[in-house]
């Protein structure tokens, strides 16, 4: 039903998907694609934790939900299971400026230059998220507890992240 309602958005998503499949991601840091053949508007991304960070060694699944007027509006990204990170809400939703339109400003500090624009793409956003994993942005704490821990007790933060990764991997 969704795929019928906006052929333009579907086509653009197809193109992005094809490019990701044939081009691959830089350094193989992530993969992304539609979950099912019937719905091109819901994707799943698998992101491997960046090296030299507490997230190293982990593989994180995120669900991408695209609006019917994509790419005019950004998609939504939600880690499932949620990730323990200052910029990720406890329900797993990612809070990152590149996924906010210049119009809405939930945090009141983000530069317009780092917001969503129709020329952005899944690939660029996921790369931004990977760099966000490595360097949290404490100005917009989506998870306040985690931000406090990150600021006040870095070793404990890193320990908790590693622990959650081990849990996820079932070790």
């Amino acid at each position: 039903m969704n795929s019928r309602s906006n052929v333009g958005a579907a086509k653009r998503l197809m193109t992005e998907y094809r490019q990701l499949v044939s081009g691959g991601s830089p350094d193989g840091m992530f993969t992304a694609g539609p979950i099912s053949e019937s719905d091109i508007f819901t994707w799943e991304a698998l992101i491997s934790g960046p090296q030299d960070t507490p997230f190293e060694g982990g593989v994180f699944a995120a669900k991408l939900t695209f609006p019917t007027d994509y790419p005019l509006s950004p998609f939504k990204m939600r880690f499932d299971p949620p990730l323990f990170h200052p910029n990720i809400y406890p329900d797993g939703t990612v809070c990152i400026s590149i996924l906010h339109t210049p119009g809405d400003d939930p945090t009141m500090y983000e530069q317009a230059s780092e917001r969503w624009s129709p020329v952005q793409s899944v690939e660029k956003v996921i790369l931004s998220v990977i760099s966000m994993l490595a360097e949290p942005n404490l100005e917009s704490p989506a998870s306040v507890d985690c931000s406090k821990l990150y600021r006040d007790n870095r070793p404990e933060y890193e320990r908790r992240v590693r622990e959650s990764i081990r849990e996820q991997l079932g070790l």
Partner: protein
């Protein structure tokens, strides 16, 4: 059915990665003539003041989205609709590339096969009669050869090299304006700044000398009025309208003037007029030969309205589904709530644990306030179930 559709779309989509990975320059070329918004070939490309290029309809859509703050999607400088300028040069490039693409694609994949076989350099030498070319690494030579042979194909009737002079009656394309004509007229045509050639004209230029002079003068003096005569008045851009200043009737008249349906309410009229202006103006940014007819545009408008209506009703249904849940839940379970509250109360009085006291306090407000009743219900249910279990066990023990 849906999956078929997605599969079919996936097969239909052409994108830069159609070209082999060992020809990155071809991928770049293919990506360069695509709109960064819709990732398809530019349709009616327009440039902004900052120089960035988009499909006319794409950028008009993007600017009209309130959240975009009217910025260039690439560099974020401020833009307005009046600043859009058609980019016919890019349009020509796109149509030329569309023609050449299958040919280049074929050559590139053929090249790939040869590379796999393992004797690329030898075969290439044989193919190329031009011995001066260095048979270097396969990548550079492949792009060179493809671009060369590509250039040969469409212009086979035109003079191929410097030493080759076509016969006077040979039909050739003017290298400046691509108009085709017999070779003997080409020189005169080019010295006349690519004046249109008709077979009779060059044969009798002196007789109509005064007339052509007049034409030349009118060209210089009033080139614009001449252009306007050609385009009928309805081929003008629709100006921006400030809808707030218009009364309902004026708005309706405007729609009727444009030949649009006048059904629906005021909001629908405004949306329809906005969308139509967008489609209409974007269509005008294309080359005249590539424009859609008004009927086609009307069809597109109707499709858009249908989609919009479908989307709206879907959202409405979802909202309705979510909303009344709380109240309905409260109403249907009101009796149970009361029963539970009554059951919990005596226990909390009779020296119960803290937990039960809290629950007793919690249970009183839900019937009046609609805040998260399900959560409260669960906690109560848990406690009660535990209690009843206890009682059951007691009863069993007694028995």
């Amino acid at each position: 059915m849906n999956s078929n559709k997605v599969g079919a779309l996936l097969a239909l989509v052409e994108d830069p990665t159609d070209f082999p990975a060992n020809a990155p320059s071809l991928r770049t070329l293919d990506a360069a003539v695509r709109c960064p918004i819709c990732s398809e070939y530019f349709a009616g490309p327009v440039s902004l003041l900052c120089g960035h290029c988009f499909c006319s309809l794409c950028i008009r859509n993007a600017i009209a989205t309130p959240a975009s703050k009217a910025q260039c999607p690439t560099c974020r400088t401020h833009v307005s609709e009046s600043q859009l300028r058609p980019n016919p040069g890019m349009e020509d490039v796109v149509s030329a590339w569309k023609l050449a693409r299958p040919c280049v694609l074929g050559l590139a994949s053929k090249q790939l096969e040869e590379d796999v076989v393992g004797e690329p350099a030898k075969k290439k030498r044989k193919l190329d009669d031009d011995s001066s070319r260095v048979a270097g690494p396969s990548r550079t030579s492949s792009t060179e050869s493809t671009s060369r042979s590509d250039a040969d194909v469409p212009s086979s009737s035109a003079p191929a090299g410097e030493g080759h002079v076509p016969k006077p009656d040979f039909v050739v394309a003017c290298p400046l304006c691509t108009q085709s004509m017999k070779y003997k007229f080409l020189e005169a045509h080019m010295t006349n700044n690519c004046a249109p050639v008709s077979p009779s004209k060059p044969s009798a230029p002196p007789t109509s000398k005064s007339k052509s002079q007049k034409n030349a003068w009118s060209d210089i003096m009033a080139p614009k009025s001449r252009g306007k005569d050609k385009d009928t008045s309805d081929a003008d851009h629709i100006p921006k309208v400030s809808y707030d200043t218009l009364k309902d009737r004026q708005l309706k008249d405007k729609l009727a003037e444009l030949g649009l349906p006048t059904g629906g309410d005021r909001a629908a009229w405004i949306a329809r007029h906005q969308r139509w202006s967008m489609l209409w103006n974007a269509n005008l940014d294309r080359a005249p030969a590539k424009r859609q007819s008004k009927a086609e545009l009307l069809k597109e408008l109707r499709k858009w309205e249908d989609e919009r209506a479908a989307l709206r009703s879907k959202q409405k249904r979802e909202k309705e589904k979510e909303k009344p849940d709380d109240h309905a839940h409260l109403k249907t379970h009101n009796a149970e709530f009361k029963k539970l509250v009554a059951a919990a109360r005596p226990k909390s009085k009779g020296g119960a644990t803290n937990k039960e006291v809290e629950v007793g306090i919690d249970t009183s407000p839900p019937p009046s306030s609609a805040v998260a009743p399900s959560l409260d219900l669960n906690s109560e249910a848990d406690v009660i179930v535990v209690d009843s279990d206890d009682e059951d066990e007691k009863g069993k023990a007694d028995l």
